[in-house]
Structure formats: C-alpha cells, structure tokens
C-alpha cells in the first residue's frame, strides 16, 4: 500500500511539473532575501523536469531513525555506480520533505569522483522523510528515503 501511494504522489508531481516551472524560478530569485520556501512537489519537479522517479536499492541512505537533536542530523548517500565515462551518477539531491525549504543540497558529480558518495549534516524542523534522488547519466532518476524521528526540532 505504501508503495502504491508513493507512486501515486509522484505521478501527481509529474503532472504539475509541466504547469509549474515558473514557480521554481520564482523561488530561486527569492534566494538572496529572507527565508526560502519550497515544498516537496515543486522541488522534485524542478529536479526531474517531470520524469519518473524509480525507488531503487542502488541508492543507499544512512540517516538515524531517531535524531535527538534536529539541528545536526548526519546523512550519507551512496549510489551504486561504476562512475565510468559512460555510466555515472550526474547528481545526488538531498531533500528534507517537510522543512520550509525542502532542498538541502544538489551535488553534481563527475567520473573523477570514483564513487558516488555524499555525506553531510542537516537541520530538520521535525519528524519527516529525508529523501535522496540520484540523477543517472542515462537520464533516469532513482530515489530512496528514510524517515527520521526528531525529538527536538532544529529550526528555532
């Protein structure tokens, strides 16, 4: 059931991707001013351009199931890829699904990395899914997520 509702919601994302590209650029312009705001659907649409997201075991995400302090949540993403000139991971996108601005980091990799890996520490405003989207060199998008329970929020 979970998988079905997951796919459905991304179907909806694909549908608004065509209609809402200007929303993404408007949010981009806001970047220099006050707090950025972007919801999950818009952020995903901006990344994939409406293409399908495939849940994949190739994308491995390491994040704690319970984070006592939402201000510092370690996240590591590894994507299984040969990282050769023909077959590599172009980008790893890390999103916090319920933060005011869901975007955390877009990491644009090259075959020189040797391994598709990104590690960081993020702030989470509350309990939510941390999502990693891998953009592959063949134009497909793979996704993995993990729910992190936050005891004390990190955005205050």
């Amino acid at each position: 059931m979970e998988r079905r509702s997951f796919l459905k919601s991304f179907g909806a994302v694909a549908a608004c991707a065509v209609a809402l590209p200007h929303v993404a650029s408007a949010a981009e312009e806001k970047k220099s001013g006050g707090p950025n705001e972007m919801n999950f659907e818009t952020a995903v649409a901006a990344i994939t351009g409406g293409k399908a997201l495939t849940p994949s075991a190739k994308v491995k995400m390491e994040a704690p199931e319970i984070a006592e302090n939402g201000a510092v949540v370690p996240v590591k993403v590894t994507v299984d890829s040969p990282m050769s000139g023909k077959d590599y991971v172009k980008a790893i996108h890390v999103l916090a699904s319920k933060n005011g601005n869901v975007r955390c980091a877009n990491i644009y990799l090259t075959p020189a990395n040797g391994e598709a890996f990104f590690g960081t520490r993020i702030k989470l405003g509350g309990t939510q899914d941390v999502v990693a989207i891998a953009e592959m060199s063949d134009g497909t998008f793979l996704i993995a997520k993990q729910n992190v329970k936050v005891t004390i929020g990190g955005c205050g």
Partner: protein, 108 residues
C-alpha cells in the same frame, strides 16, 4: 570564513578512492530565526555554492541551502589520479567567498 579540508585515509596511493571532508565555519542562518533581544528576524546567511577542483579541473559542484547544519560538513569521494592540488571554493549568499587548497600526495 575558516575552512578545513581533510583527506581520509591520511596515506593513499594513486588510483585509490579517498574521502574528502570539507568543513566551513559558517552560521548557516535560515532567515527564520529571531534575535533573542530585539525580536527582529536574523537575515538568511548560508553557503550556497561549493566547488571542488583538482589541478583546476572541476570534480564536484554543490548547490546547497540553509538546511545544512551550522558549520556545515560536506564529504565526497575522490579517485586520486596522481599528485596535484585540491582546491575548494565556497561562496555564501551574501557574496563572501573563500578558497582553500591542500596538496594531494599519493605514496607508492
């Protein structure tokens, strides 16, 4: 902006995949936090772009937002092609920019 670059492990050979840890001392203000004394909003101030270069060739470019923790850590993998210089350029949304370098010296 103070920065720190760490290569892990400390000794490596050409062809090895190492981890590069980059840390910057930065408040990463979200723009949502209020000053405790005045109640005024503290303007957003966060690193928004980081570039990793090896001998002036771009390895990895990062576009990041305020959701990264205070004094953010960014870690990537790097397949050491040989000796050279690793340069990391970090820039924040107020235009402050810092360039840090570290030598890459493979052994054996």
């Amino acid at each position: 902006m103070k920065t720190l670059i760490k290569i892990k492990p400390k000794t490596y050979a050409a062809g090895d995949i190492v981890k590069i840890d980059f840390m910057a001392m930065h408040p990463m203000e979200t723009g949502m936090r209020k000053d405790k004394d005045t109640g005024a909003l503290i303007p957003a101030n966060y690193i928004d772009e980081v570039k990793f270069m090896f001998n002036d060739t771009l390895i990895t470019k990062m576009v990041i937002w305020e959701s990264l923790s205070v004094n953010p850590l960014m870690s990537i993998s790097f397949k050491v092609p040989g000796a050279g210089t690793l340069k990391v350029i970090a820039k924040d949304n107020k235009g402050q920019s810092v360039e840090s370098t570290t030598p890459i010296t493979p052994k054996g």
